[in-house]
Amino acid sequence: MIDIFIMILCTVGAIFVLIASIGIVRMPDFYTRLSITIKAATLGIGCILAGAAIHFSEFSTTTKVLAIIFFLFITSPVAAFLIARTAYITGIKLWDKSVVDELQDRYDNNNNIPNKGCKEDEE
């Protein structure tokens, strides 16, 4: 029973990491790529580590796994934020089909996306 649970956790984790790497290839622009990579990879690694913790079921292993997951969840959003901000300031363009870009008022990014909302104007 526990074996099946470990298998499910590890498989789900591996699938999420796979989806993250396919997403890097398929997504249209830098920001959506970053958006997918950070979360799917974090969740995937979390699942695999949880599987490892259940498999060994020792106090020391579980403590280490909890610490790794905690620091992963704390640090990866900060990294994503800094990478995204740097990319925007250095002028990497958004996808042409992006709907709205309200950050244009702050930094001049030269992409031709309206900075007012789509549905907002219709009302």
Partner: protein, 160 residues
Amino acid sequence: MLKYFLLNLLLAFVWVALTGQLNYSNFIFGSVAGFFILWMLTRRSNMAEKEYFYRVPKILVFILYFLYDMMEANLRVAIDVMTPNFHTTPGIIKYQLDAKTDFEITMLTNIIALTPGTMVMDIADDKSYVYIHTMYLKDKKKFVKNMKERTETKLLEILR
């Protein structure tokens, strides 16, 4: 608040010491038992004293709710990556913050970043706005309202 948390921790350690087994399930059982014992002991005190006993269930509910949200959104992104057509309508939105202190803003930013599809791009100089990049933008007002009600107010309820 802090007093009851420390008492709860102390009771958990007393339970672990008395049973003599240091593992997670025993520790969790000790804290749950200590929580209920403390709750019964403080049943006659005023609301400010009892705040701890309402906050802990709220935190647990929030964590479960966040995990559910994260799984659901991850599945949506996964379906979008695996199927041939894109359904993404990305955009960057200005979002007004209710959170005031640095700690609250950091927690909110982390939670926004871990929900797939959304990501914080920049924070205004006076910390009153954040700029959120989102992958599924249908209606701007609906998105802002959703973010405010489902994430921010719940988080601030816990932190304040």
